[in-house]
């Protein structure tokens, strides 16, 4: 189930590994080779989504932060070690939300990541609406936590 170094077209629904307001993402493509990662993931925007009933009542709009959330889930799906913690979002260097996604739309996130020499990953992503409009751009850093389990 782990992407490993496989590549190619494949669509799997990935459940979130951690607490999340997004019910899951569709991994359309995932390719990892050494220090490079490329992925394409999709998120459907549904008016029935329990989180969107409050954002906003009568006008479901994908919250901009859910683009960041989708990226986090994608990185977790693409990089999570077999039985460990997924990489953690260390910083959003830049996020720009360029167009809204309404109910019935679908966000496609094209993601490219590279491992940093000192550890962790630098990731850039471009999000598109179903009509092809660029909806978002994100640059983010993820840390790979070497520590053991929970501080909770």
């Amino acid at each position: 189930m782990s992407p490993g170094t496989e590549s190619g077209m494949r669509s799997e629904h990935q459940l979130p590994a951690t607490a999340s307001p997004l019910a899951g993402i569709e991994v359309a493509d995932c390719h990892r080779e050494g220090a490079d990662l490329t992925m394409t993931v999709r998120v459907a925007v549904s008016g029935d989504d329990p989180h969107l009933r409050g954002h906003f009542p009568g006008l479901p709009i994908l919250p901009g932060v859910f683009v960041v959330e989708a990226l986090c889930q994608a990185v977790a799906a693409g990089l999570a070690p077999a039985a460990g913690r997924p990489p953690e979002l260390a910083a959003v260097r830049s996020v720009r939300l360029l167009a809204p996604l309404l109910a019935g739309d679908e966000l496609t996130l094209a993601i490219a990541g590279s491992a940093r020499p000192g550890g962790g990953w630098t990731v850039t992503a471009t999000g598109f609406r179903a009509d092809g409009t660029t909806a978002a751009r994100v640059r983010a850093d993820f840390d790979c936590d070497a520590a053991g389990p929970a501080d909770a």
């Binding site: 830049s94 720009r96 360029l98 640059r139």
Partner: protein, 84 residues
């Protein structure tokens, strides 16, 4: 230094950061929209940064003309009062 007016090179760093470029990539006359894919939000960000960092207020009406580093610098010079 007694002058609070930012120099061209300081502005280059500021603008480059907003446009997400290396300072070396940002030329004096390069057009933000045509050459660096900037949208209107970036122009507003540049104004906001200049206001925050140098307390120089450039009127929004001048936004459409701020299309190059040179134009930004000229606007800063125009709107910097004689602060010691």
């Amino acid at each position: 230094m007694t002058s609070s007016q930012p120099q061209l090179e300081e502005l280059r760093e500021l603008v480059a950061e907003v446009l997400e470029l290396e300072p070396e990539e940002l030329t004096d006359t390069g057009d933000f929209v045509a050459d660096y894919e900037a949208d209107s939000l970036r122009a507003i960000e540049i104004l906001a940064r200049i206001d925050k960092q140098y307390q120089v207020e450039i009127p929004q009406a001048e936004l459409p003309e701020l299309r190059s580093l040179q134009a930004v610098h000229a606007a800063v010079v125009r709107h910097t009062s004689g602060q010691a």
